[in-house]
Amino acid sequence: MHLTAFRFGKPYESLERNKLVHFMTGEPVAEVSQVGGAIVNRDLRKAGNARKAILKIDPEEIVERLQTAGNLYALGTVDVGGVKQSPDDFARQQSATTGLPENLCLANMKKNLFVLSNMDRMLDALSRGLPPEVFWRGYGTEHRDVVVSYQAQSPVLGLVLPSNSPGVHTLWLPVVALGIGLLLKPGGQEPWTPYRMAAAMIEAGIPEEAIGLYPGATDVGAAILASCGRSMIFGSAKTVEQYRGNPAVQVHGPGFSKFLLGDDCVDNWADYIDIMADSIAANSGRGCINCSAIYASRHTHEIADALAEKLGVEEVRAPDDPEATLAAFTVPGAAKAIWEQIDGLLDKPGVRHATAPYGSRFVEGERCGWLRPTIVECDSPDPEIARAEYMFPFCNVVKCPQEKMLDRIGPTLVATAISNDPHFQRELIDASHIDRLNIGPLPTIKLDWLQPHEGNIIDFLYRSRALQMTETSAVVSTATAVPAQSGT
């Protein structure tokens, strides 16, 4: 199978190809054409055509086509790389190159299907009920009979996608429904979701000129981030820091998502063990929404032991085993290096490795490695490991007085707070370093897609601005509503 680049409607076979192999057997799975950053820069000059092609279609029709695409993606057989690909083929191929068990690959497909199936509700929620035509025409009248104008900030959204977290794709699925094209740089090991989704969208009638697939090395990502009017990148804390304050780039890094047990509920900790465990281990702990720390003022020893008993026994299983829960680290040496780093932090004062009684955490394969769920108890937020997050089920149970929690937790993508204390709830609602807040026993991994995630994507792609028109003014046509690409 050869996955070619796709230059807004035109397949492009590169002379350079990345050979993807099965993470356990080394058998070839696919070849992926590799392009350079210059191709991206060159094609971006015509990025306006992507938006124009979408705007020719009625916005409600686009949503319907996306819903069809969702069904094709999750349930149908689509042509990917010149080969008919069923959902099971997809799961097998994605698992083979990412190390994620096949059952988790299938579960992620359902998430994407859910988002596409509910696109109309999602857009309604994120736009606070604006008529979708507003994004097509650039202006309109909202339900209070007030004129509003939303100006697209880029004709396409550039995405530098990750290799190790197939769950992130839900973030970019609404983009086409907002009248914006997609320029995707698939992750080196995970081209599967972008390619299958693009194929499903095109088969469902989304214009092929609206979608670009540019697999390649880091210079492709650099070109996207430098030249797209709006782009998203998924990366490490260092990447997040690099693009902090750049309004054109939305960075998704480690989530440092947490459970906070309030003093009024902490004595009932056993009631929440299951949702804490789910939050830690779902999707093999790879997501930014997986819980990496639990804060409580007391019972941390018992909580850590209970979680260790529940999760520590998880064993490595074959990727096609329906019971498999752990993803492999497919980069040779990566799992070992991560474990050595963790091991170096476990013998520090105030740190206890609660899963130690359940056997070695590091499991070495012939070409890859695994890390089994790891629970660590910290007697305060001070040890370095208390602030750590890793790409596998890893969680610290941190002892911390409730009144100091918000000062000590640091940036938190999802916080689930178990407390009925109105004062604590008020503080949580006001805490600006918490992005998504769950109050009550909700797993950190349970997302309400009708609410924004790390900012409202509409606010990222569009600028709300004033537009006043006299009655004699000509109507702005959609053909003129395409923003210039930055740098042109």
């Binding site: 002379l15 350079e16 350079g36 060159r42 000059r45 981030l225 750049n246 042109t488």
Partner: protein, 375 residues
């Protein structure tokens, strides 16, 4: 992307055995002559005369052919750092005007090579490989590449002058480019690139009748895209011939440039550095999969593609190995310098009847520590 020349029928003119044998004879004779010069007390450089005292053999007696150079221990690039640089000047050239060219130097003391006339000789020889149709004699040149203490900067100017033209240059500090990348200041990097391209476009638009250009792949694509945004092309800006260099030259990039950037201008890739001089390429054509194969300017410099572990053994044709460079000029003797690049060993070409190398890229074991800037 290893080229497998052993399994495919070459689409270029492979050198015949007689030519290869003549090339080897010439190289052996040249090697003996260079050794005699560098190790004779009356003509040799202070560095090599002193170094000879530490050897277990007498180079003057025991190095009679190229293979005999294997008797020398590995050349250490650290020797090239710091002064006095005059230790490298052969006594036979004492008192002649000298240049010093630097390489690297983002942090710490850069490596350097002293030159008297070598850079001129190298580029005059290279000039003979340039097709007149695209690099007409008398044409003016644009040097869109690094300025400062670089051999390349002066060499391009000499090449232009040697061919009867004038060279126009820009200011470009590659050490600052590397620092921007290492600091992750990507906005500044883009701004600096734009600053360089702005200078180039200003030169091209100023009526200097420039028809030839040296540049690097990254700058070439930036220039082409900047010109495209202005509604013109490299060819329409007057450029007919481009001489370009850098380890970022890949078959795919070359194909992309030919198909989408050059608008019919001719481009010839080269591989070079401060120590070697310049390796020309055999014609880069679609039928050859845009393979870029370089051939060193033998006998003045020799490239061998050697085994990663046994650096005295070349790999089979089509095999991957590390670049080992030997410089054999009367100004400079460098035996068996292991470059920071790797590639595939190529069959001798009719025009250059000795081994070539394709797929040149940063040495994989060092690549993570190598920052490619404008090269």
């Amino acid at each position: 992307m290893p080229a497998d020349t052993t399994e495919k029928t070459p689409v270029f003119d492979v050198a015949d055995e007689q030519s290869i044998a003549r090339g080897k004879e010439k190289l052996d004779a040249h090697t003996a002559e260079i050794i005699a010069w560098h190790f004779h007390p009356s003509t040799g450089s202070p560095f090599w005369l002193e170094y000879a005292k530490t050897l277990s053999f007498d180079p003057l007696q025991e190095v009679k052919c190229f293979d005999d150079l294997k008797k020398f221990p590995a050349f250490e690039d650290e020797w090239l750092r710091g002064g006095p640089v005059t230790r490298w000047i052969p006594k036979g050239f004492a008192g002649q005007p000298a240049y010093v060219f630097e390489t690297g130097g983002t942090t710490g003391t850069p490596k350097s090579r002293v030159n008297l006339r070598d850079f001129r000789t190298d580029y005059e020889e290279f000039s003979e490989t340039l097709p007149e149709e695209y690099f007409p004699k008398g044409a003016n040149w644009l040097m869109l590449g690094p300025s400062g203490p670089r051999r390349l900067r002066l060499s391009i100017e000499h090449l232009a002058q040697h061919r009867g033209g004038i060279c126009f240059c820009i200011d470009l500090d590659p050490r600052w480019v590397i620092k921007l990348i290492q600091k992750g200041w990507m906005e500044h990097l883009e701004a600096y690139k734009d600053h360089c391209i702005d200078q180039a476009i200003t030169v091209l638009e100023s009526g200097h009748d420039i028809r030839c250009m040296f540049t690097t792949p990254k700058l070439l694509e930036s220039l082409a895209i900047a010109l495209e945004k202005k509604g013109t092309t490299i060819r329409e800006a007057g450029i007919t011939g481009i001489f370009s260099g850098g380890t970022e030259f890949t078959p795919q990039w070359t194909r992309f440039a030919v198909e989408e950037l050059l608008d019919g201008a001719f481009m010839t890739p080269t591989y070079g550095n401060t120590l070697m001089g310049l390796a020309a390429s055999r014609p880069v054509v679609p039928e050859d999969g845009y393979t870029i194969a370089y051939y060193s300017p033998q006998p003045r410099a020799v490239i061998e593609v050697v085994d990663f572990d046994d650096t005295n053994s070349v790999v089979p044709y089509g095999g991957t190995g590390r670049v080992k460079l030997t410089t054999l000029t009367k100004e400079t003797f460098v035996p068996g310098f292991l470059e920071r690049d790797e590639g595939e060993r190529e069959l001798p070409y009719a025009k250059y009847p000795w081994d070539g190398i394709s797929g040149v890229r940063p040495f994989s074991k060092l690549a993570t520590a190598t920052t490619v800037g404008v090269y």
